[in-house]
């Protein structure tokens, strides 16, 4: 029987001494969708994942995953989830294949199944050739893929990915994204935490923005972007002395006063269709030279800045993900 909401949390609270890591968090993810949990380091994302994967008891609130209560039905729940953390939790002294087989046995898959499943996953994660090699010889991207494969060994209907691409190089990130998209297409529900806005934008059906243990916004990527204002037209002029003339020419299509930055004008507009053509027409009629013109949608960066008053912290650039520890 398919469960309507694969992940459902209400009022989750977790305190460490006086610090409230989670302060009444509600989350929900319908089956077969990706819920993105977006927030900076220390926002409470990992704490939420740890509660939902039964690693940590909540101090308050309730949560159900795959229809089971995290507090009272933990052993049964663990059969239906897969967890891939930010640490690439694989054993360096085993081969890729041995790692997956070990996890399969610990899920108590029927005899013979762990081996078959390991081979299948290595193949689909592009690790077939490396499957017989010790993991300590793997690159960072290969370890993450193996870690993700380990989370999928028992074909769990719900998987939790805690910052799956932190510290990866751009090519490995994109490869991992494609893999995750593949699983979602097969019907897996995913809860993904990330501090990368582009990651949430690309993968998540719905996003919960979390900061200081609270969900401060929730919605689709588009809905969140709409919260910080709609679209804007960005015009780069040829000459700085035509800025006033351009503003006057565009007055008819402005939804709000334009912002000016050198020869670049940022003009909030009410609608997208036909805006560029209309703007070009008006600027031509006024004799204003255009160097470049484009529609700009607000990015999740803008969303984050507007909602939290600070920018989302990127990893500190050492590429190892250590900053998250």
């Amino acid at each position: 029987m398919p469960v309507e909401c694969a992940i459902e949390a209400e009022g989750l609270v977790k305190a460490y001494g006086k610090v409230r890591a989670l302060d009444g968090v509600d989350l929900s993810a319908p089956s077969g969708t990706v819920l993105g949990l977006l927030g900076p380091n220390g926002a409470g994302k990992t704490t939420a994942v740890r509660i939902l994967t039964t690693l940590l008891p909540a101090d308050g609130g309730t949560a159900r995953v795959a229809g089971l209560d995290v507090a009272h039905e933990a052993p049964e729940l663990r059969r239906r989830i897969g967890l891939a953390g930010q640490y690439a939790a694989v054993d360096e002294n085993l081969t890729g294949s041995e790692n997956l087989q070990m996890v399969g046995r610990l899920y108590h898959l029927p005899k013979g199944e762990p081996k078959a499943r390991a081979a299948e996953l290595l193949e689909s994660f592009d690790l077939a050739d490396a499957g017989g090699r010790l993991v300590r010889t793997y690159s960072g991207g290969m370890r993450r893929r193996l870690d993700l494969a380990a989370a999928l060994v028992a074909r769990p209907p719900v998987i939790f990915l805690d910052e799956p691409t932190t510290g990866l190089d751009p090519r490995s990130r994109i490869a991992l994204w494609e893999t995750i998209e593949g699983r979602v297409a097969e019907g897996t529900t995913v809860l993904l935490t990330t501090q990368y806005l582009d990651e949430a934008d690309r993968l998540a059906d719905r996003i919960s923005v979390i900061d200081h243990g609270c969900v401060i916004a929730e919605g689709t990527s588009d809905e969140l972007k709409d919260q910080v204002g709609g679209e804007a037209l960005e015009v780069t002029l040829e000459r700085a002395d035509q800025v006033e003339a351009a503003i006057a020419a565009l007055a008819g299509i402005c939804a709000a006063p334009p912002e000016r930055d050198g020869v670049v004008l940022r003009v909030p507009v009410a609608r997208r269709q036909g805006t560029i053509a209309a703007a070009v027409q008006r600027l031509n009629d006024a004799g204003v030279g255009i160097d470049d013109i484009a529609m700009r949608r607000p990015t999740l960066d803008d969303v984050f800045l507007t909602l939290t008053g600070h920018v989302a912290e990127e990893d500190d650039g050492d590429g190892t993900g250590e900053g998250a520890r």
């Binding site: 740890r50 994967t53 039964t54 690693l55 940590l56 052993p75 049964e76 663990r78 059969r79 989830i81 897969g82 967890l83 953390g85 930010q86 640490y87 690439a88 939790a89 694989v90 054993d91 360096e92 002294n93 085993l94 041995e98 070990m102 996890v103 046995r105 610990l106 899920y107 108590h108 010790l134 380990a150 520890r325």
Partner: protein, 257 residues
């Protein structure tokens, strides 16, 4: 699968993992083979001549003592391994799986029994080569070896707890060393306790190490046993039970660092 069947199956899966690790990191094997040999030779030939041991040659006196010490330290691999698993997030993975709660620790301590067995064999062979002689019936020798393995198993649980409590594998190793090294030295393992100052002597006589060393001396070289053999068994069982409980409780709440 029944929960007992599950616990056994999970423990074996993890014990196998630890064996593979040792096979693949042969430098670790040095700790179980070369290091005990080194200690036997150092004590026998550097200190041996200076320590009078009435009734025994120093080598006969030493081998039971150094065997017990080696057993006590055999579990350090468990402490380091568990601290490493915590650091790498593997404990999180294991705890998110539908597996037995005690299996990670039980798998570790179980594989320690095998490596401790290797150490005992190596040390007895070296001991016999340099002049150690059993002076007791064969069954006593077998009982002594089993007691050594039991004692080592108990301390594996102490190390499991240390591994779960310390902040890194390095810290686990030095914490284990600091806690257990003095215990092994303030005992009857290397010198007769009668030569120690009063307080130390009192401690040395009650120390579980001394009790176990005395039991092994009784079983291997025919010293009067007194209550030492059953005392040693009781200490080992008690230590295993206490630290087994503490370690499993700690494991259930373990957090990644």
């Amino acid at each position: 699968m029944s929960s007992a069947g599950m616990a056994i199956s999970d423990t074996l899966v993890l014990a196998r993992r630890n064996f593979l690790r040792i096979a693949r990191a042969p430098d670790l094997l040095l700790a179980f083979t070369v290091q005990p040999i080194m200690f036997v030779l150092l004590f026998a030939y550097v200190f041996g001549g200076a320590i009078p041991t009435p009734g025994h040659t120093y080598i006969d006196f030493l081998i039971p003592g150094i065997l017990v010490q080696t057993m006590a330290f055999g579990g350090f691999v468990t402490a380091m391994g568990i601290a490493e698993d915590l650091r790498k997030g593997l404990v999180d993975r294991f705890r998110s799986l539908p597996m037995s709660r005690g299996a990670v620790l039980a798998g570790r301590t179980l594989s320690d029994i095998a490596t401790n067995g290797v150490s005992i064999t190596v040390m007895l062979v070296v001991g016999v080569i340099i002049g150690f002689g059993f002076e007791s019936p064969f069954l006593h020798v077998v009982a002594g070896i089993l007691l050594l393995l039991l004692f080592g198993y108990a301390f594996s649980w102490v190390f499991a707890f240390i591994g779960l409590t310390s902040s890194s594998p390095e810290a686990a190793q030095s914490l284990g060393f600091i806690l257990i090294f003095p215990l092994t030295f303030v005992s009857s393992a290397f010198v007769p306790p009668e030569t120690m100052p009063g307080a130390l002597q009192w401690f040395a006589e009650w120390n579980p190490f001394s009790v176990t060393v005395n039991a092994i001396r009784a079983l291997f070289i025919g010293d009067p046993a007194g209550n030492s053999v059953w005392g040693a068994v009781a200490w080992s069982v008690g230590i295993a039970a206490l630290f087994g409980f503490l370690a499993v409780t700690k494991y259930k709440r373990a957090v990644v660092r």
